[in-house]
Symmetry: C2
Subunit: 692 residues, 2 copies
Amino acid sequence: MLPRGRPRALGAAALLLLLLLLGFLLFDGRLRRAAALEGDPGAGPGDHNRSDCGPQPPPPPPPKCELLHVAIVCAGHNSSRDVITLVKSMLFYRKNPLHLHLVTDAVARNILETLFHTWMVPAVRVSFYHADELKPQVSWIPNKHYSGLYGLMKLVLPSALPAELARVIVLDTDVTFASDISALWALFAHFSDTQAIGLVENQSDWYLGNLWKNHRPWPALGRGFNTGVILLRLDRLRQAGWEQMWRLTARRELLTLPATSLADQDIFNAVIKEHPGLVRRLPCVWNVQLSDHTLAERCYSEASDLKVIHWNSPKKLRVKNKHVEFFRNFYLTFLGYDGNLLRRELFVCPSQPPPGAEQLQQALAQLDEEDPCFEFRQQQLTVHRVHVTFLPHEPPPPRPHDVTLVAQLSMDRLQMLEALCRHWPGPMSLALYLTDAEAQQFLHFVEASPVLAARQDVAYHVVYREGPLYPVNQLRNVALAQALTPYVFLSDIDFLPAYSLYNYLRASIEQLGLGSQRKAALVVPAFETLRYRFSFPHSKVELLALLDAGALYTFRYHEWPRGHAPTDYARWREAQAPYRVQWAADYEPYVVVPRDCPRYDPRFVGFGWNKVAHIVELDAQEYELLVLPEAFTIHLPHAPSLDISRFRSSPTYRDCLQALKDEFHQDLSRHHGAAALKYLPALQQPQSPARG
Amino acid sequence: MLPRGRPRALGAAALLLLLLLLGFLLFDGRLRRAAALEGDPGAGPGDHNRSDCGPQPPPPPPPKCELLHVAIVCAGHNSSRDVITLVKSMLFYRKNPLHLHLVTDAVARNILETLFHTWMVPAVRVSFYHADELKPQVSWIPNKHYSGLYGLMKLVLPSALPAELARVIVLDTDVTFASDISALWALFAHFSDTQAIGLVENQSDWYLGNLWKNHRPWPALGRGFNTGVILLRLDRLRQAGWEQMWRLTARRELLTLPATSLADQDIFNAVIKEHPGLVRRLPCVWNVQLSDHTLAERCYSEASDLKVIHWNSPKKLRVKNKHVEFFRNFYLTFLGYDGNLLRRELFVCPSQPPPGAEQLQQALAQLDEEDPCFEFRQQQLTVHRVHVTFLPHEPPPPRPHDVTLVAQLSMDRLQMLEALCRHWPGPMSLALYLTDAEAQQFLHFVEASPVLAARQDVAYHVVYREGPLYPVNQLRNVALAQALTPYVFLSDIDFLPAYSLYNYLRASIEQLGLGSQRKAALVVPAFETLRYRFSFPHSKVELLALLDAGALYTFRYHEWPRGHAPTDYARWREAQAPYRVQWAADYEPYVVVPRDCPRYDPRFVGFGWNKVAHIVELDAQEYELLVLPEAFTIHLPHAPSLDISRFRSSPTYRDCLQALKDEFHQDLSRHHGAAALKYLPALQQPQSPARG
């Protein structure tokens, strides 16, 4: 036992010593861990002794299943593609539920809304905000950055995002995650009570103002900060009067500076220079900046752990950099990554299923795996991710009789596109059935083709592949839904229309009063050549000569004349005016109809009966069938597609098709009553196995 | 100042207190962190209080750039594919240099040696060990597991691997990494001085022996351990007399048990039951076992951090499990992952470049990006990853006059394969130019085709896509190098040979004494149909009738008759015996030659001159050209391939081709001297732009 009194003092001293020692040990440990984490602890590259951002302990992970908020500004077709790649990288590594706040223009909204709706990723909520409504708040700022007005919009996020949202991670569209975003979110815990903006130092000498003669950058603390990745304490910014703060600073600087060069980043830096207490420095690995002449190597060469890569050179992936191959591979990983694989559940965090997902799961669960038509049923239920207007697209100016060519294809028909563009000078809406990687090949294909790259009126909608059967009618419906003209020409990708068809159709629609006065489907007679080198006829006269010479046939003349017999080719030879024909079993002409025509029946997947059913529906809805005397389209030969070869040989294929037809007729009877009886014999007829 | 004496004792007491406190604090921290890391700390699922494996601190990461050793036993075509997927997942997350120790049979060695040689991944060394030599050491053990003899070979690794190798991670081929392997390696640091085998507890009730009536498993500690992931201290095992140890145990158990059910795992468990001090329990996340009725959920439902997934059900990906979708997506990620992207440098760890990589880098660096033929030069230098015999393959029995059909294709020609199999009943060696994802589609295509699945004599060699130009001659050379018969028929994928051709060629080779007595190339006359539905002639008589009826033409009759004119079709009509023809400019017949014939010139990438140059080389090497009177092959029509459409329209394409031809002739002159002069006019002729 120790005596009382003195020992107490000694005990207190020992305790003090203990605490000091403990403190030192812990601090030392933190120091070493932080150094490993940050490469260049506390400060950005080349700046070792910044006092406001000393060594940090690795933050505790955010509470399990905490919802993380991410805001991104996105406008236009190309940025929308970028955002999807960014989101894929984020989803790949994430372990938390996410709420994405997307500030978009109308184009990006249309694309991303459709995409997320069809992607159905569990534990991801998406909210949209109208960029156009925010424009007036920043449009007064002269800005020379390539991102334009949208580059400034991060400034207004504290007021644009919901008032109850206190924290958000803000990302540029050109960043790629190489790690779990929750570790970035966790850095909020390091903020002092007054800090409100977490940023990584700028990894170039831009703000030092010594890059070239007379270079006058905006004011910044040292190298300044990069705003490609921001942690925002929205609550504190609002409280601190951010709205006034940045405007005051910007107005004052603009008295002497002509414009922002780096958009929002210039203004963020100027505000921070004035209010340095707002900023929290983040470890450089959270925004490795691959700008030209970047100093990022100082950051990552010591850190084996890259967290976020930022392609902030206008050259993007073509930027020169010793290790760009390494970074590019990260980016390419997610560019080609199958987004379907990201539909995985976060099973550790229970979450609200995305809209429709629960019914879908139930319907899938009710399928009988032993049913020989299981693959058909499953394919019918599949919700494909859809990326509408994958490439830049100008909607056609509104014209009352304009016609959009509607078709669908997969990778093996890309080579048809150039010829199609030469034959059809009008708008097109094409659905492409591709994998994520194929979508990139397609992009390169279009960029490499002067013919395709010149056309802004062709809308390409990517429907991502999933399942073994070609969802032909779902594809047609996507293309049809995205057509923007009052009329559509429902074609197939292996057909080349007459050079004059586009103009002729518009004239015919006007003359016939289609749509407004007359509910009709205009039939474009179909022919085929069996020769794969072939001189396309420039007129009906030339076509008839080729037909007589045996160089052309009426479509499927040898294998399936019933499909087009009702068009009455003999009458067409002589016809001078449109003539009406009657529906008959198996009729499947190519037709021009108003855009609001019935949709294709998505139950027909794979091959067979997909167009026939649509024509049945048109007839049941009392569309007149009018054959146009000068219209024609010609089918070019091609090898059978992979999908068709795969299923033609399957013995159960025909049985399943018959089952689909039976179900189709039941639905037809339900909608049209006794009138549907007319179609019954046609539906009970066996289908020729050789047809596609 | 403190007085001396007493205070010294008090100081010592305080220090003691301090140390105790420190110890407690650190221990507590470890406890909490370990709990977070392991879900079920220390023990496996359902077993909370195992004393020999208390809470563990997260191990320190291995020293930066430490070389990690991994051993895998692999035999046969299917396991080789599995290993590649496993390796891709490992490489994706790894940050350390790796040394793979692969114990393989001859098939797997041929596949993996070629693959790693052409993959050229920086900081990956691969060593091979002959499984066949190890067989006698385990073949005495009766074993009922589906992995067969190879399943037992992990037992002999301590003696089979190099004596200086002290530590190794041993993996089954059916595991997938979801994290950095260095964290697994770091667990070696937790081993006590006597522990030698790190294992995760078995996540099923198998070894409890209560799965069904009369189930008598091998002895094990409780639930036993799973050997899909093992940390082996080889040094300690050797010292402990492992070789004797496991043999003794196995022999003793086999006195009462008929055979091993789970291969090596039964024996490992029996040894561990006897020597529990050898085992170090690993956190369950390092081997999440998706067997049927797995208890793994108890492990991963608490751990948000999955590390390694083990597909240890014989059902593999088809295993039923609440979260199997999640796990499957991980696996599918790496199955389709573009392995080229894993060629990235570990720039933090300097490493010996893989063989050939340095020269390749230098050659690539010397290319001039402004050279209009830059893409050609780059493509020529590209080393494509090659996966030979991608699918199970039985080499043909050695027969002196046997012929292998050699061809190459990409995805858009898969539908030719069935017809080709019907026309050619003999061995084939086909090179397929595919992405990793396409290779999987190809696999499913073959599995779904009874015609293809039935053929074991067709070898499919996957050459992975890289670069914009089709490396046609590199592909031909891969297929040619893998042909195993003494003769080869050098064909193209769009041709269907006469039904009788295979037998006829073998008879002709024998009659003509090709190879041994005569250095000759047998010409198979080529025809074409422009119709894509076409009844294939069963004899020369039928073929001539179709030719006369205009249903068939001699090949490229309309566009490029020079390519086959020297075959002399008029003479062929009447010929009863093989006849000799002379080489002429642009001649490119399809020929049968001995397997050791000259290789194709890999400089010809894209389209044009690739076959012509090969025939020039044959002629320069004085091969006789002998046309066979009953042989024929017919080209079927097809849409132009994507690659060809992309480059035909390019204006620089023809210039670059001419440059390649000039360089080809320079090399020809170098090898054949004045004899090469003969070919000069042919090389200076412009190439028809329409040819493929």
